[in-house]
């Protein structure tokens, strides 16, 4: 449930940044222009695809896996937790790289990116806890 709720918030944040990047929104609600600076930097896209779009896809995947894991017939299956773990792991690594770029290369902090980084770390932590709980449950069964 924690993963699903956080993935939804992360999805909305990524969607907001992606829609801004492709020119569908007005000024970013960021305050000091740092978000725009990060979003307009050369690091805000990979192979022509906005970085925020990867966030949209990743969070959507985590949301779907989280909701799947809540279903009666899947609640004792391992794959939803594993899927969240893998997606969140990739997300943590990617967010770590982007946070490094903000700190050391771009010299600007995008608040929405930081929110997203915190969300993905918490989801990853929750997925690890969920996986450990699942292992304990398997042993006791």
């Amino acid at each position: 449930m924690v993963s699903a709720a956080l993935a939804l918030i992360g999805l909305l944040v990524s969607l907001y940044l992606w829609l801004w990047k492709i020119g569908l929104l007005g000024a970013l609600a960021c305050g000091d222009g740092a978000c725009e600076r990060v979003q307009l930097s050369p690091y805000a896209q990979i192979a022509g695809i906005p970085v925020a779009f990867f966030g949209v896809v990743g969070y959507l995947g985590i949301l779907v896996a989280s909701l799947a894991g809540l279903q009666d017939r899947l609640v004792h299956r391992r794959w939803p937790t594993d899927a969240i773990l893998v997606l969140a792991g990739i997300g943590v690594a990617f967010s770590g790289y982007l946070t490094y770029l903000e700190a050391a290369v771009i010299h600007a902090w995008c608040r929405w990116c930081i929110v997203s980084a915190i969300i993905i770390v918490v989801i990853f932590g929750a997925a690890i806890a969920g996986r450990m709980g699942w292992e304990r449950e398997s042993v006791s069964r």
Partner: protein, 221 residues
């Protein structure tokens, strides 16, 4: 289990709807509240009007107050600028005036504005304007932006010896400081800001929104 989760699903749906609504509300730049102000009177900057593009007989004049380091200004220049030039300025419908407004907190603004003034001295302001905005990432976060700005100036085809003389003399610093003070005195609180006829709008306007304001200003004449 499914029944127990019902409140959770309802909460999740409410968050999704609220988030989507907030994103939807953010979709239009230049809301009605920002359009409502009336532009102030003429500027007292001697003969200097700003960097002008377009016909003197165009029915609508737009004054843009912009800062080269401002990301929203770059967004406007990149996304909307080309359409403005081709569809409004080149067709004689708009006379466009660019006023430098290098913001205090932007460390690299002043060198960029000075570089553009130096290129303008050789008749290449708009070329340098585009180089600066279209290559924002190359200089805006640099601790010493002079070198990348010089590379951008060279790309406009100007005489670099004259450019270097101009940059080292700092001869446009007074003008830029005056423009900054003037914009602040006019109540410009953010960049980019546009005075379109007697209306003032802020934000990285999309072309369609700008066009509506131009049509409205032309109709009011």
């Amino acid at each position: 289990m499914a029944g127990q989760l019902k409140p959770f699903y309802i909460g999740l749906a409410l968050v999704a709807v609220a988030g989507a609504a907030l994103i939807y509300m953010a979709r239009r730049p230049g809301s009605e509240t920002t359009v409502a102000q009336t532009a102030p009177g003429p500027v007292d900057l001697g003969d200097y009007e700003g960097h002008v593009m377009g016909s003197d007989s165009a029915p609508v004049t737009i004054i843009e107050y912009a800062d080269f380091e401002c990301p929203a200004c770059a967004q406007f220049a990149i996304l909307t600028g080309p359409d403005v030039k081709q569809r409004l300025v080149a067709t004689g419908r708009v006379r466009w005036i660019f006023r430098d407004f290098p913001l205090e907190g932007h460390r690299n603004s002043m060198p960029a504005h000075h570089a553009a003034q130096c290129a303008g001295e050789q008749g290449k302001f708009w070329e340098m304007h585009d180089q600066i905005f279209f290559n924002h990432g190359r200089w805006v976060t640099e601790r010493r932006p002079e070198r990348p700005l010089r590379d951008l100036a060279a790309a406009t085809g100007i005489d670099m010896r004259r450019y270097d003389d101009c940059m080292s003399s700092g001869r446009y610093m007074d003008r830029l400081n005056q423009l900054r003070a003037d914009a602040a005195a006019r109540g410009i609180g953010s960049t980019p800001t546009f005075d379109i006829g007697n209306r003032r709008v802020s934000g990285a306007l999309l072309y369609d929104d700008l066009k509506k304001l131009v049509d409205s200003a032309a109709a009011a004449k």
